[in-house]
């Protein structure tokens, strides 16, 4: 307590004495008010951090007092966020320092009815023992006669909320242990973006940064609810609008993003390919393309082989095998030139054998020379003509019939595209998971890519395809993948083949020309990073140590393996599949068959407690006492309690420093995997089993610090960046060698620790640099901020226009220069032409900007890499009440992945009997106030109170038709489940006229589940496991349901209602399964 003020300080005397005679200002200021100081000013130190929610990666300042974080705010210096935070970012103090986080390890013994406390060390030992046992029991030496050397009994899920360093160690250790079923949120969010962008341009990540949208003349937001899901990045759209740009939002649902757009275009969920195909048709048929760009930089002039047949009336491209439910893509190849894709399906061994009589792909590509071109675009088999024919039927009338977009509205969109593209103007696409999460998701991204190539918008300021990713490091968890099909830097995981060695693997998976031609450098350096001295030229650098794939091992395939009983142990690293993955019931069913489950999270999410309080317990279908699964809950450290890097949506790695120590049993995932790995290695020490060599030879000795022996994230990042034989840190991937003299944990991240300096920790204020912000943190590759920026200049190296200048050739200095780091060899002149036999980067001509591509051209037509066709084609979603108007004989994507299981039934075709039992289209989305499956928002009171309940948005017309009452309740039913939601009747939902009938759409956010502070049913009880074949992503952006007024039944009656509707629709095991 402060001493009493002297009488002269008494307010009354001050009032009489001073100028504040009325006593309402200076005179009445109390001592406490006088002493007021903001805790931001009183902090001992300010620690630089990064927001842990979405992938905008807003820079944060942590204000630390007495080693406790007392305030978290945006860092005003950051070029991408400029100090701003959305409601989630603003709630990070409550998220991290509030009382909703668990502090202690919890343990549920087999058949146990409740949690018990367990000592952390004991829990770690138990998990290590179980890991070793499950691995030994589930070890698989070969599959169908092919060596696999893997462990199918263990799986892991999660990583997009983790640091790159954590993902790196998880992938490194689990892969060495033979685990291949490693997955994370990137699979269910943007895996199709990787395929779509990667095959089209060479890299499967956003080509640009939100900050560059300020330079756009037209911004088309489609498949993205940017203002809600990425509010801080939306500031750049506000900037663009202030500069006169036009903004269009194309979406089934009028969201906060639509409210701020100049034009909102509602379309039926699941029809974007028809819409974009219509725009492509408009551009081609009116010759509104940027012809010089198209001729020089795309594969429009390339001649395709004679075997290729476009989609006919049967809705199939050439090469479809109904037995395999997939394509053999070899007929899609260029004439006399076999090319490998830079992403997607890359193992072409089968094609090679057929095409070359046993030669390897690299050899084949060399032997078959460069693709043939027809610069007149007249050859009937050149890509331009094929594309023109393919999209000819996507007329404005067809768009209207399929999408429900009136012709005049569509004409306006087409006009805006054309007017805002070309030499002087640029258009940008912004997309999110509204495009990716479909049974043909990769092709949505391909369709946008084609349009951007035709209009000449790639690699230019204000252009590009801005992929808005959802988690703090989901880009990082794609780059350093906790994903089954890739190794760090998008090197494909090897498939199981007979007699495959490093050379045949490289040959089968990489292009000969361009930077993927150096895949051997990247791969050998990775093997050196993992197995160090044990990796030698003699033993193929331990290539044999890598476990082998046999098809897809994505998270949904893993669920099926769990249901079958193959998977015994499962790790969840900050992911909540019981809410976030499609078909929640299947997720829980899978987990109930596990021997053990490890959950690492902040709070007791639904995936940790289903055995106790899941819907199947409530309905009586499962009894807790009958469930054998042993469950370990480890409380996780938060971003403020550890250091490391997140990679944001613009490929930017930002280092976040530690502000305070975690409490009690809370530990980082880096600590968990490192110490678990150590324990497992101790248990295997001295083993003579061949399978244990990769674990024992693994480099696994990171320096540790502090009382908890926290491993050094800094040391891990240095390993990721790479060093040479002398231990000198590398400046970039061009220094990598294939002779074993360099080590690099992720080639595309090489250089992030150049000169021994953590480049990701750079924080030069935005006011001191240009809009690309290239001195803030570090972006892959090689700190280039706008990819393919060589395309901003014409073939001679001059900017297409002054207004849109980005990089250009400086003839005097003989180098590429400009506002961004050139995405091109700096000293390669525009007139350089490679010799015919050139390989790798030397084969890249000076006038070809897509340096990762086998032919260095942007792919309008994808001769390889995309599993369901070389060109995007409209098919209806798996569950749709509308027939396919474009290809009436083919309702759904014939190559999609489906799962036949009693709990994963599909809906009938719309014109079959029962085809209108689920007549309403549903689309899903995120709200600003919540985060994905809710684990970081439903437990956070400041966020929970803003959107406290699960609701569905319906139009007034549908409400009348179904008797739904505003603010009342509705029950929604699909063949998988039924949920209840509050009813929001709103004009923001619009019925569409499709083929002369009214199609209703319902909008549903998917953040809720039965646990947490704000509770509700989970939308994903309704969705099905049906996947895009290229990326194995699920379709949750377009499905169909029935909606009834009132609350859903309780107990067993809930399942009964689902069964009743299934019966009514005549659903069998075969329904919706046809290719």
């Amino acid at each position: 307590m402060s001493p009493l003020p002297s009488p002269s300080d008494w307010p009354l005397l001050r009032q009489l004495r001073g100028e504040d005679r009325l006593g309402r200002g200076a005179a009445v200021k109390s001592a406490a008010t006088q002493a007021l100081r903001p805790r931001t000013a009183e902090a001992d130190r300010v620690v630089k951090s990064v927001c842990p929610y979405c992938a905008v990666g807003c820079a944060q300042n942590l204000y630390v007092k007495d080693d406790k974080v007392v305030q978290i705010e945006g860092d005003p210096d950051a070029p991408h966020s400029r100090g701003r935070l959305c409601p989630k970012g603003s709630a990070t103090l409550q998220l991290t320092t509030g009382d909703s986080r668990e502090r202690h390890v919890l343990y549920r013994r087999p058949y146990g009815t409740d949690w018990e406390r367990l000592d952390l060390e004991t829990a770690m030992d138990m998990v290590a023992d179980k890991f070793v046992q499950a691995r030994a029991e589930g070890w698989e030496c070969e599959s169908e006669g092919k060596p696999t050397r893997r462990c199918m009994s263990i799986a892991a899920l999660g990583g997009a909320t983790l640091d790159n360093e954590e993902n790196y160690l998880i992938k490194k250790f689990l892969t060495a242990a033979g685990v291949i079923q490693i997955e994370n949120q990137a699979r269910v969010c943007h895996s199709s973006t990787v395929v779509g962008l990667g095959t089209s341009f060479g890299r499967g990540a956003s080509s640009t940064l939100p900050g560059d949208l300020q330079n756009s003349d037209l911004i088309v937001l489609e498949g993205s609810n940017m203002a809600e899901a990425h509010p801080v990045a939306y500031q750049w759209i506000t900037e663009a609008k202030a500069r006169g740009a036009t903004v269009i939002h194309v979406d089934p649902h009028y969201s906060r993003t639509s409210a701020l757009a100049d034009m909102f275009v509602p379309l039926r969920a699941g029809t974007d390919i028809a819409f974009l195909g219509g725009v492509i048709n408009h551009v081609i048929s009116t010759e509104s393309d940027f012809r010089e760009y198209v001729l020089a930089y795309t594969n429009a002039p390339t001649i395709v082989g004679e075997e290729f047949e476009d989609v006919g009336a049967d809705g199939l491209f050439s090469g479809f095998d109904p037995e395999k439910r997939g394509y053999d893509p070899k007929s899609w190849q260029y004439e006399d030139a076999l090319v490998a894709a830079a992403a997607g399906q890359r193992d072409q061994e089968a094609d090679i054998a057929a095409l070359t009589g046993g030669e390897d792909a690299k050899g084949a590509e060399q032997a078959r020379g460069m693709p043939k071109l027809d610069p007149t675009l007249q050859h009937p088999r050149c890509v331009w003509q094929i594309l023109k024919r393919h999209y000819a039927q996507y007329t404005p009338e067809m768009v209207e019939r399929v999408c429900g977009v009136p012709r005049d509205v569509f004409a306006k969109v087409c006009r805006l595209f054309v007017e805002n593209s070309g030499r002087e103007r640029t258009t940008a696409f912004v997309h999110g998971v509204g495009w990716t999460q479909h049974t043909i998701g990769s092709q949505y991204i391909r369709a946008a890519s084609i349009l951007q190539l035709l209009l000449g918008n790639m690699g230019r300021p204000g252009g590009g395809v801005m992929a808005m990713r959802g988690h703090a490091s989901i880009q990082g968890s794609s780059d350093i993948p906790t994903l089954f099909d890739t190794l760090p830097g998008y090197i494909p995981m090897p498939n199981a083949h007979r007699h495959e060695d490093l050379d045949t693997y490289i040959a089968a998976s990489s292009a000969k020309r361009g930077f993927w031609g150096n895949m051997r450098d990247y791969m050998v350096s990775l093997l050196k990073a993992w197995w160090g001295a044990s990796a030698t030229a003699e033993n193929d650098f331990c290539f044999e140590y890598l476990p082998r794939l046999t098809g897809s091992h994505g998270t949904y395939q893993t669920v099926m393996e769990q249901v079958k009983g193959t998977v015994k142990g499962y790790f969840l690293f900050g992911q909540n599949p019981a809410v976030g993955s499609a078909n929640n019931r299947m997720q829980r069913l899978g987990m109930s068959k596990l021997d053990w489950l490890v959950v690492r999270d902040f709070s007791l999410i639904e995936s940790a407690t289903w055995w106790k309080d899941g819907p199947e317990i409530e309905s009586g279908e499962m009894r807790t006492e009958d469930i054998a699964t042993e469950v370990f809950f480890f409380p996780a450290a938060a971003h403020i309690e550890k250091e490391g890097t997140f990679t944001n949506t613009q490929r930017m790695l930002q280092w976040h420093h530690k502000g305070q120590d975690p409490q009690a049993d809370q530990r980082s995932d880096l600590w968990f995997i490192y110490h678990l790995g150590k324990r497992i290695r101790e248990r295997l020490a001295g083993s003579t089993e061949k399978r244990d060599r990769p674990v024992l030879d693994l480099t696994w000795d990171y320096p540790t610090e502090g009382e908890h022996a926290e491993p050094s994230a800094d040391a891990v990042l240095a390993e990721v960046s790479g060093w040479n034989a002398e231990g000198k840190l590398l400046s970039g991937y061009t220094e990598l060698k294939s002779d074993g003299s360099t080590s690099c944990g992720c080639w595309i991240y090489s250089g992030c620790y150049a000169d021994g300096v953590n480049q990701t920790a750079r924080r030069k204020p935005w006011r001191e640099q240009n809009w690309t912000g290239s001195e803030w943190a570090w972006a892959w590759p090689a700190n280039r901020r706008i990819l393919y920026n060589r395309a901003s200049a014409d073939p001679d190296g001059k900017p297409w226009s002054e207004r849109k200048a980005l990089v250009w050739w400086d003839e005097e200095k003989r180098e590429w220069t400009g506002h961004d780091t050139p995405d091109f060899e700096a000293d390669k002149p525009p007139d350089y032409r490679p010799p015919e036999d050139a390989e790798g980067p030397a084969a890249i001509a000076g006038n070809t900007p897509f340096i990762m591509q086998a032919d260095q051209r942007g792919w309008l037509f994808a001769p390889a890499g995309v599993a369901d066709g070389p060109m995007p084609t409209h098919y209806e979603p798996q569950d749709s009440p509308v027939p396919n108007t474009v290809y009436p004989e083919r309702q759904r994507n014939p190559a999609r992945e489906v799962f036949q299981h009693e709990e994963n039934r599909y809906h009938p075709d719309p014109d079959e009997p029962g085809g209108q039992v689920y007549p309403i289209v549903v689309t899903t989305y995120r709200l600003t106030e919540h985060f994905t499956a809710g684990g970081m928002s439903r437990w956070t009171p400041y966020l929970a109170e803003l959107q406290p309940e699960f609701f569905c948005e319906v139009s007034p017309e549908l409400a009348v038709e179904r008797g739904l009452e505003h603010a009342g309740w509705a029950t929604l039913i699909s063949a998988r489940g039924c949920v209840e939601a509050r009813v929001m009747v709103t004009d923001r939902m619009t019925p569409l006229q499709i083929e002369g009938r009214t199609v209703h759409q319902i909008g549903m956010p998917y953040h809720w589940g039965p646990n947490g502070y704000a509770k509700g049913d989970s939308m994903n009880e309704l969705s099905s496991m049906s996947l895009d074949p290229s990326s194995h992503i699920q379709e949750v952006k377009a499905l169909s349901v029935e909606i009834l007024p009132g609350r859903r039944p309780r107990g067993a009656a809930r399942r009964e209602l689902v069964r009743e509707y299934r019966e009514r629709a005549g659903i069998t095991a075969e329904t919706g399964m046809a290719p």
């Binding site: 307010p11 100028e19 504040d20 009325l22 006593g23 309402r24 200002g25 200076a26 005179a27 009445v28 200021k29 109390s30 001592a31 406490a32 008010t33 007021l36 100081r37 903001p38 931001t40 000013a41 305030q71 705010e73 945006g74 701003r84 935070l85 959305c86 409601p87 989630k88 970012g89 603003s90 709630a91 103090l93 203002a227 509010p231 939306y234 500031q235 009028y254 906060r256 993003t257 639509s258 409210a259 701020l260 034009m263 909102f264 709200l927 600003t928 400041y942 109170e945 803003l946 959107q947 406290p948 609701f951 505003h966 603010a967 509050r982 929001m984 709103t986 004009d987 923001r988 502070y1013």
Partner: protein, 302 residues
């Protein structure tokens, strides 16, 4: 300070003035509140035309000021589950889903031949030039800061609640389990350290702008002009005029429709406007009484 057209009673109120009004020097309330040397008057300009309804302001405010979470209540009122300013909500984002005639407005979307738009706006304490809450506070808890803002001193407030009905905007409110009143302080503590208020700092699109009031007024005027040129003829300012019924707000707004649409009073008047006249009348009445009594007495002596 004569009446300006279109503001009705407000003009009269200004002319008539509150107790404080007569002492005001060129709308600088800090000067008349005993701050000799003081910083310029600071305030908010909330440009609702770029508000994305994210509610970062609501959360940033609560985090900074330790304002309690105030319950889970799904209202069905568009995305607004906060409903209004209160002791536990110092920033409130309103959501208005609106059918509008095409032609008068330029909706970005038409539905069944009718235009549709969705307005969003972040409301806050107006920090009035003539603040009735301050006028009626008997304890000196509510006070005018050197920045011209109006703040409750929590160590002084006794919970009498006089200020609650006095506010023409219905902003200030009593926290029932505490007894005292609470409202936006315009982050008085932060201002003292040269930092901007938490809501303005967080606002992703800069819809909430903080700064010197005179500069904000200029900025707002040019923004309106810009919007008018772009055809958004309905853009107008609310609370920026020193001639309105509260002498102008320290926190003012750019709106795209009538204030009532956003739940704002169209012609706010400082509720203590009539106090001087009432006191004058009281004085006259008292004087008359005294005179009457005196006359009576004097008459009696005679």
């Amino acid at each position: 300070m004569s009446g300006a057209p279109g503001i009705g009673d407000g003009a009269a109120a200004s002319a008539n003035a509150s107790l404080l009004n007569v002492l005001l020097e060129h709308g600088e309330p800090a000067t008349s509140s005993g701050y000799g040397e003081h910083p310029p008057r600071m305030g908010f300009f909330t440009d609702t035309s770029i508000c994305i309804g994210c509610k970062a302001c609501e959360v940033a405010c609560k985090e900074w000021n330790h304002v309690p979470e105030d319950g889970l209540n799904w209202t069905g009122h568009s995305h607004d589950n906060t409903i209004g300013l209160s002791a536990d909500t110092w920033r409130h984002v309103a959501f208005i889903e609106q059918r509008v005639p095409v032609g008068e407005h330029q909706p970005n979307f038409q539905r069944e031949g009718e235009g549709f738009r969705w307005l969003m706006s972040s409301d806050v304490c107006k920090h009035c030039t003539h603040a009735a809450c301050l006028d009626v506070c008997p304890t000196g808890s509510l006070f005018r800061t050197e920045f011209g803002t109006v703040v409750v001193q929590q160590d002084i407030c006794n919970g009498c609640g006089y200020c609650v009905p006095a506010c023409p905007y219905g902003v200030i409110d009593k926290r029932e389990d505490d007894g005292r009143v609470f409202k936006c302080t315009l982050c008085y503590d932060r201002l003292g350290a040269g930092q901007e208020p938490a809501c303005a700092k967080a606002c992703p699109t800069d819809s909430i702008q903080f700064g010197e009031l005179t500069e904000l007024r200029e900025r707002a005027a040019s923004r309106v002009e810009q919007l008018h040129e772009a055809g958004v003829v309905e853009a107008r300012l609310y609370g920026e005029s020193p001639d309105d019924g509260v002498g102008g707000d320290g926190a003012f707004f750019l709106l795209l429709d009538e204030p009532e649409v956003y739940g704002l009073p169209p012609d706010p008047v400082v509720t203590t406007r009539d106090l001087p006249r009432m006191w004058r009348n009281v004085g006259i009445a008292a004087g008359a009484l005294v005179a009457g009594v005196a006359t009576a007495f004097m008459g009696a002596r005679r």
